[in-house]
Symmetry: none
Subunit: 226 residues, 4 copies
DNA sequence: GATGAATGAGGATTCATTCAT
DNA sequence: TATGAATGAATCCTCATTCAT
């Protein structure tokens, strides 16, 4: 009797059991989905095209995913896990003491590297083209990353109110996502320059905030109520 | 006076003189399109839904626009014109000498105001959800705005190489678009705070650049090859 | 008070009156229709495209023709008249005594010439692409021409039963139409050869028939019940 | 035995193995298409009407055919094959030595018989109603039949230049198609008479040509450059 | 007369999803 | 499991025709 639900999040609403072959199929399908999402965007991607790209029939796809959204969600999960396994987990503990500019390199460079290798990550983080509309497809990825930013930022700004940290983190993450898209879309020989520029934007934004909280610093824009 | 237009086949770009009713319909349709684009995004918006929203039949829509793309293009043109007529034209000449923080207010506040009143503007500027893919729909709006940023920036950084100015402008505009989306999506009582934050990001990014070119200043990150 | 209905066939179901301007419009429209029919075929031709080609609005077209079919019918009438005025009427009386091969030249050459100048003639004669379906659009042209063939043939075969003459005429006309299409579609430098060939087909077909009825002749296929 | 087809994206022309049901559907759809093409002609036939006639949904049709053209092409292929299997293949080898009139019977009678049983054949051979426009839909059928005519004719006219044989074959085939349409459209009690007549046309046309190449014969129209 | 606006059913085609095998 | 078949509503777009101006 094989283990019924070995995968992650075996919640009550996911009765689909995966065994060896199944896991391979899922990987196949998620790979295909990543490719299709990158090529055509989430909205325009069709389940049939994903199945075709994966070399399986539509029916097979639906044996593993209840609908298109679930594919995006699971792809997001997988990419997040892959990110954490590859760079993320290794990243954090050590770097918390770094000076800001070093931190920036330590955070941004792997992120960009990872996104170059997994362009679907950016697609899913970005969400659909409806601004301000949070969809379940992208939410997990998005909020998980955002939470990480908040965590790190919280460590650097221990005395700042939660709400404000959240806002700053949101802004940081938003700017990063936009810059990332710019970098990924740039001509290859421009990418490094854009990367440098993105780091500058982010660094200059948070540097004063962090200095505010430490030794005497020149507050170029005194913080008050937002 | 018989036959005002006697010549046959007067070329494909015949002025196609529209009657008053037609002008009204076009406005109606563009309004409807703006609403639908905001509600569902450009990709998911269907011509039929736009026609329905406008209260006309699909055929009527196609009497004025050859396809969905044309609607977006014309809506973009209209919004751009409206922007220039409302704020844009008034904006520029005066403010070129302003200190940066005042410039920021002078530029960002009207833009956000305008986007609040015309949320389709942001949708069209943002483009589709396929990253790095330029579509004719959004290009006019996008490049027009970008060009303005480049212009203004060029005035403030006269000694910087063109390529670098372009890059900085691109980054500025990208960050602005992202921040704008954040502001528009934010809870109403958070919007001002996010606006302040966005200005901070932008200001801190360009302040050192501008100071570099003027009086002695503390260059926190000396510029070299990008 | 201008003459109300000067045109031909002022039947009771055609109350549309035409005056000077109107006649010009009709000519314009029929010219345009001829061009469009030739370019796309009758079925695919749209009234809107005809109006566009004529440089008028759809409404104007419908002021002169109740529907698409009527355009084809009237175009057929016009072409038939033009044919008769140009070649047809002049043709007949003189040639009735000609030997067959001369008759053939006298009939076929002008017909081909006329069709080269008025390619819509062939389109309308040919009818739609539904074989064996007679449509009002093409019927007038078709049966008028066919009747002429029958007439001429009747003169050459006075002793042959009506039904047989009709059949032979039908076959002759059918072959002619097909050969005509072949000639019109042929490469320019092939047209004369195809024309010669078509005449050969027709001539060899009727020569024995005619000889049967006259002087002694070798009946290569004795006629009996059809 | 797990996963019989492990390779992903096995090329666009993957055999696309069809299940029994699918084969039946294809046959059903081609049958329906044949009926609709005969009833309304190719141009006016709609994929929806074909699907309706076949008793399936539009989506089902598109699972087997990418578009209307493909239906016509496949139907043409099928009819051609059916023709060759039924009459064509049996026909040829034996009859090459036959006297012309017997050959005519041997060729024309089965053709007419087959077309009576498969009237779509004629529709597809005939092509659209745009004269001189070759469409992929009809080309296969048309050129295949034409090639056969050329072959046979070449055997009877071995000394005639290729270009001339081609022209004669083209004319023969054209006349046959036209006569066939006439026969199919004729009243049932007229059909045999029309068939006889068609054979007469064709026979009289080629008889002199063939005799030219053999024993002394009366050349009623000496051949020279076309 | 002339125009352009308006219609709405119908065209081809796609797609997320379910089902029989 | 895996497959391909099946669905039918929805997609974009066209067209013959009518109507208000």
């Amino acid at each position: 009797m094989p283990e019924p639900t070995p995968g992650p999040t075996p919640g009550p609403d996911r009765p689909r059991r995966r065994q060896a072959r199944g896991e391979r199929r899922v990987a196949q399908l998620l790979d295909a989905a990543a490719r299709v999402f990158c090529a055509t965007g989430y909205t325009a991607a069709s389940t049939n095209s994903i199945a075709r790209e994966a070399g399986v029939s539509p029916g097979t796809l639906y044996q593993f995913f209840p609908n298109k959204e679930a594919i995006a969600v699971e792809l997001g999960d997988q990419l997040l896990t892959r990110w954490q396994d590859t760079y993320g987990r290794a990243l954090m503990p050590d770097h918390l003491g770094l000076p800001l500019d070093r931190l920036m390199d330590a955070v941004i460079d792997p992120l960009i590297q990872f996104n170059r290798e997994n362009p679907a990550f950016a697609v899913l983080m970005h969400g659909s083209d409806v601004p301000g509309q949070v969809t379940r497809e992208h939410d997990a990825l998005h909020s998980s990353m955002l939470a990480r930013v908040e965590d790190i930022l919280g460590d650097y700004l221990p005395d700042t109110p939660k709400a404000e940290t959240a806002r700053i983190a949101h802004m940081l993450f938003t700017v990063f996502k936009a810059g990332l898209a710019l970098i990924l879309a740039a001509e290859p020989d421009e990418r490094d320059a854009y990367t440098t520029e993105l780091k500058r934007v982010l660094l200059r934004y948070i540097q004063p905030l962090v200095e505010d909280c430490g030794p005497p610093c020149r507050a170029d824009a005194p913080r008050s109520a937002g």
